[in-house]
Structure formats: structure tokens, C-alpha cells
Symmetry: C2
Subunit: 402 residues, 2 copies
């Protein structure tokens, strides 16, 4: 290793992991598994030093492959070689000082794995764990964090459901993570703020760029309300289609579960759901009218068994949370009928009664398909419950005690 390669006016100290991770976040495209494996195997600073060397010389030191567990492996050597070529293409444009200054200007800081502000859920991404996060505000480190994502081309229905969901999640102390896009994402952030909660925006580009521009005010409000904007690329970086897709893995990984509200058949929201599923995190989908193309992606997730059907915040929390305290109440509990507590035989007999026509016990038994003795016993029980009434000409239905 020969130190700073020609043309590079900066240098990372061999033990400065933090600075090295900042450089890696600019050097490798999000989702670059080779870079991730290299950093995990060697450490960010040694890996960077190796790349600096490899970029500068036509004959890099391939001993690094042994660290990656495949010294004589041609395929691995080819993959790392391609990585070096990719990183070489970006090397001249690296400028850690510029990134640092840009971060400072927009009030962002660098968070790396192990920092108290690091969302530990991201570590489950393995070699796809981001090298670092550039963060404005306080990133999601709490346990109770749910991703709520969906279509940009949302409907009034979808937005209403999303706002309701996020308001209620916020009220119950859950943070909401989303992508800051128009439509469902924005409704999720807005709902969380409305509910007095905390919300986080994972951006595909730099945190100094409000993207989309129309949501700039919302993004500022997110930070002011105690949430965060964060990104794995440095301030100044532009969002691209590939980065939007990679960004989705961070949304999924920083939350305990992901709920999709409205998604077209092919959509970024569905990709977030699949990222969550790959991480073995629970996925929920909110259904909608089958006549609405905006819900087609949700229905597909339900059909494919990727997602559980979610209709309200309680069910979303049950999805993400512990069974027990977080279990959604069954609506059943509220709706009761006077005959609910009865045993099946009493119900049968109750069904054998009419409201106006008085019936003899034997007639009730024949109608109910019970024995006369059973009918007699159950009529006594129903009378006690106020559900049957004895008249001069026989038995009739009563409406229960008020």
C-alpha cells in the first residue's frame, strides 16, 4: 500500500473508520455488495487504503481475497476486480472535505454502525448494510418503528386511510418511516405529525436536497418535530432510479414491519415490501377496491402471501409488535347479540320461536329439531334470560332484559 494515490489530495488515517465510511458512502453505489463485503472483512479504513492502492496500480495486492475467504477463487477475484474498476471510475470525483462541508451547511451529521444514533435494524442487511448514514435530526433508534409506504399516484381513499393509520400509530407511540414521496409516503409523514408523533424520511439522494421539491416544507417539519431525514449517500448526491430502489431496503430495515397502502402492480412500495420480507420482517398490505389500479400491488402482495391484510393501526401494530400487549382487539368484542352467551341448543330453541305466533313446546321442539325435554329446559333458560316469553297460547320470542 503506497498511501495517497496520484491526483488524490485527501487521505484517511488508517484507524479512522468513521472518515473511511464517509468516503465509502460516496465511493460505492448503494447496494454494492462487493464493497460491503470488503469493508466488513477488512474494516472500512484498511479496505479504503487497499482500494486507493488498487486504483493506482495495475497490479493490486490480491492477498485481500484471502480476507474475503476465497484466495484462489477466480470468480471472486473477477467480482472484486470489477469493483475496483467501478470505484476507479468514481475515485477522481471523491472529495470528503466537500461532503463534510455540505453536511455542515445543511445541519447533517454522519452516523456510523455502533453509534447510539445508528438504527440497529440496518445491520440485518449484511453486506448490503450502508457504510454510513448522513442524518438531519434524530434517526429511528426506538423499537416501535413502522414503515408505511405506498404509491405516488395515490387516491383520496388511500391517502385518507394512510393519514388515519399514521395518526393512530403516532398516538400509540409508534414512529413512522417512509420515503418522503408524494402520495402515500407524504400522507404517512403528515399523519404521524398530525398525531403528535415522530416520523423519518429515508432519501435516495443527499439530505440537503428536498426531494421531491414540493415536499420541502413537509421534510423541514419532520426534522423540527423530532424526526429525521437520512440517506446513505452524501449531501449533494442526486437521486436515481437505482438509488430509489436501494433506498427502499433502508426503509424496510429501519422499521420492525412494513405496511403498504396502495401500490400499483409494479411499484417501489412493493419493492420495499419484498425487502422487508427478505429480512424476515412482517409485511402488511391495506386492501382497497379491486376496481382500483392503485390497490393492485397490495392485492398482489396479499395473494402471493407476502403480506398480511391490514385494515387499521391496531392490526399494523399487532403485525410489528409482540403478540400479547400489541394484539389487535377483535371487533367482535363490541358487537353483541342477546343470544351470544347461549349454548347452541338454546339458540336452536330460540330459533324455533316466533315473534307473534305463540307455539307449544312440542311445536318448538319439532321446529328446532330438539327433543321436547330439551326444548322445555331451554325455554326455561331463555325465559330467565328474558329471551322467551310464556303466553296463554304458548311461547314467543322476547327481546332480552334491557
Amino acid at each position: 500500500m503506497t498511501g495517497t494515490p496520484p491526483g488524490v489530495t485527501w487521505c484517511v488515517a488508517p484507524d479512522d473508520e468513521r472518515a473511511a465510511r464517509a468516503v465509502w458512502s460516496a465511493l460505492a453505489e448503494p447496494g454494492d455488495a462487493v464493497a460491503g463485503a470488503l469493508v466488513q472483512a477488512c474494516g472500512a479504513a484498511p479496505a479504503l487504503a487497499w482500494v486507493a492502492d488498487a486504483v493506482a496500480t495495475p497490479h493490486p495486492d490480491w492477498a485481500v481475497l484471502e480476507t474475503l475467504g476465497g484466495g484462489g477463487d477466480d470468480a471472486l477475484r473477477r467480482r472484486v476486480g470489477l469493483g475496483v474498476a467501478r470505484w476507479a471510475a468514481r475515485w477522481p470525483a471523491l472529495d470528503p472535505e466537500r461532503d463534510r462541508a455540505a453536511a455542515q451547511r445543511c445541519g447533517a451529521r454522519l452516523v456510523v454502525p455502533g453509534d447510539p444514533a445508528w438504527p440497529r435494524g440496518l445491520d440485518d442487511l449484511g453486506v448490503l448494510t450502508p457504510f454510513a448514514l448522513w442524518v438531519r435530526g434524530a434517526p429511528p433508534v426506538a423499537d416501535r418503528t413502522l414503515a408505511v409506504v405506498g404509491a405516488r399516484a395515490s387516491t383520496t381513499y388511500g391517502e385518507r386511510v394512510t393519514v388515519d393509520l399514521a395518526v393512530e400509530l403516532a398516538r400509540r407511540g409508534w414512529a413512522v418511516v417512509s420515503g418522503g414521496a408524494y402520495g402515500i409516503d407524504a400522507a404517512a409523514h403528515r399523519g404521524a405529525l398530525l398525531g403528535g408523533g415522530v416520523t423519518h424520511v429515508v432519501l435516495a439522494g443527499g439530505v440537503d436536497r428536498a426531494y421531491p421539491a414540493g415536499n420541502a416544507r413537509l421534510l423541514e417539519e419532520v426534522v423540527r418535530a423530532g424526526g429525521s431525514l437520512f440517506s446513505e449517500v452524501p449531501p449533494g448526491a442526486t437521486p436515481s432510479r437505482a438509488r430509489f430502489l436501494q433506498r427502499n431496503r433502508l426503509i424496510a430495515a429501519s422499521a420492525q414491519a412494513t405496511v403498504v397502502v396502495e401500490a400499483a402492480w409494479r411499484s417501489g412500495a412493493a419493492s420495499t415490501a419484498h425487502h422487508a420480507a427478505r429480512l424476515l420482517r412482517p409485511v402488511g398490505a391495506v386492501p382497497g377496491p379491486v376496481t382500483s389500479a392503485a390497490s393492485a400491488g397490495c392485492h398482489r402482495l396479499l395473494r402471493d402471501g407476502v403480506a398480511v391484510c391490514i385494515t387499521d393501526a391496531a392490526e399494523a401494530i399487532e403485525l410489528a409488535g409482540d403478540v400479547g400487549p400489541d394484539l389487535a382487539p377483535t371487533p367482535d368484542a363490541g358487537v353483541t347479540r342477546p343470544t351470544d352467551g347461549l349454548d347452541p341448543l338454546a339458540r336452536l330453541v330460540h330459533d324455533g320461536l316466533a315473534r307473534r305466533t305463540a307455539r307449544d313446546v312440542t311445536v318448538v321442539a319439532a321446529r328446532a329439531g330438539t327433543t321436547v325435554a330439551q326444548a322445555r329446559a331451554m325455554l326455561g333458560l331463555l325465559e330467565l334470560e328474558g329471551l322467551a316469553r310464556r303466553t296463554a297460547s304458548g311461547w314467543v320470542v322476547a327481546d332480552g332484559h334491557e
Copy 2:
């Protein structure tokens, strides 16, 4: 066995299974598992003769318990004893001749297991298999039969979806079974008729009674169009809540799969779905807005994993049919993007291009996160596909060949 018991003016010949089953259909309440077990163990006529005896004497011949496989079993003896008491309550009102005459008046016939017109799917009900069916028209014996059921309190959305579903099922040669109720059931029958198909109504009361009365014309049309009305209780029998619930098992058992469109949280449609699930027949549920109480039962079935999410007829047929010829097409097939066939690397490079700003290969590589060599190769490929264009100042996006 002493032949005709006192007060009974009719008699079934010991080998007349058909006549005996007709009597059983009037004697035992639908879903009477003890009666079902007795008939399956002894045959309908011997079982009826035994009951005639048991009803008439205080000391029936309990040797019958051995046929049921539990000679010395007190619990079994008690269950059969209760059965005898139930049947005794109805015995005086039995009048097979009246039932036969009523059937004749309304153009109904008796169908028993083994008849060509017997829907074989019913046999999966075991001891809950109906003794006989009273049928107007031609009952569902074909393989391609789907149950479509749902709420009486349906919405315009639910009815529209149901009609569309049933029309398409009919066009594809599937028969539609339902319960003839207002709301979704009626929409299912109507849709099947509109699609030029065959549809079947399983009634909870006698087939001579159009229930509900408002659907009388629809029910007549069902028969005229080559379908059927059928019931396990004789003509003249009234529908009761218990019979509606039992009727649902016949809907589920006579179809290869059951699809629920709109169902309240507690509902008959959900009970039909559970019957189908217990028979290990596939169950589908059509989702709707989570803000609609009419869809709550469908969403519950989806949440509980009882039902698969169904959004159109193709998916319903896939649910019921063979995998392969009946597989629903993925909407994907239709929607294509120019970059669809490309490999991921080419897509990355495509993402690195802009529409207006021409970019150099090295810039494209740095943006795409590829090597310069990869970018160059992929740009060549994209140019061939008409997706990238070389200008004097660099590369730009092109729109693909028309």
C-alpha cells in the same frame, strides 16, 4: 322391529332407500350428525325402521349401537337416545305422501346419493351429507362449479364486482352456486345468467318457497336457464336461522371453491367460507375499502389466512381449478417498459443517462456506479436497442424503437 308404529299411516319398504331418505330429510334437522351416522352405518331404510321402533317403544333395541361401532359406549348411547327423542318430537308430523305431492306441484324431484344428478362434492360432508336433495332443475354435477357468496347488506361496489365476476365465470364455462339471498348472492346469480351461464340456488327452506320473496322472479329464471334450486328439506319446510347456517355447508360442498364478496364481520358468507375451508376446498375473498363495514368479513378471512385474495374471475378460476390451464395470467405480461428485457447492469447504465444533458462515458459510469468498460459496453447495447443515443457531446437517453 314391529313395523309401522302407532299413529303412522305410512310405511317405507325395507329396501326402499330412496323413499327412506325422503323421510329422513323431513325427520332429522339439517346437520344432525347422529342421524347421518345412523343412516350411513345401517342404510336409510333399516335406520328408519329402527327409529320407527325406537319411537314406539320405551325399550328400543340398542344392538344398533354396535353397527355404529360402540356397543358398550354410554356417551354414544346417550347421543343416539337424544336423537330418538328429537325424531320422536317430529314423528307425528311426518307425511311422506304430502311431501311427494308438494314436490310434484312445484316440479321438484328427489335426488339421492349415487343418482347421476347427485352433486358428488356433497359426499365429502361425511355424516353431515344430506340424506337427499329436493331439486327443481338440473343440479350442479359438473366439475367447473364455483360458489360466490356474500352480504345481503351489500354495497354498489360489491354488487358490481360480483356481477362482473359471475359474468366472466359464466363466459368461461363455470357454474355459479349461491344462496339466493338479496345483495351479493342475487348479484352472483344475475351475473351468471347475464354471462349466459348456469347458476344454482341452495335454499334453506323448501324449493316450493321462493325465499326471499323479492327474488322469486330471479329464482324462476335460474331454473329456466338450465340451473337449479335445491334444498335438503322437503317442499313446504320453512327456513330458520339454523337452517341458513346448515345450508351454507351445502353451498361450500357443491362447489370446487368458494369466493366471498363483501361480508360483515359476522356473517353467513363467512360461515360458508369456513365450511369450505373445513372441507379443504379453496376459499377466496374479494377485498374492498377498509373503510367499508361490508368488506370487514372478507378482510378478516384474508387476515386469518382462511382465504386467498381474489380480484377477478381469472384468479377465482385459478383458485378452484387445476394449476396450469387455469392459472391466472399475471397482469405484468401486458405492461412493458422499454428497459424490461435488459440485464441489471444495462439498466443501471440507462439510469446514469439524462434526457437533455449529454454525458461522457466516464461520467455515466460514475453516476451508474459501474466500471467505465461496463458503461461503454452497456451504452453500445442500449444504442442497439434504441434506448441511448450518441451525440457530439456525449450520451443521452433515447425512447426505444417504435
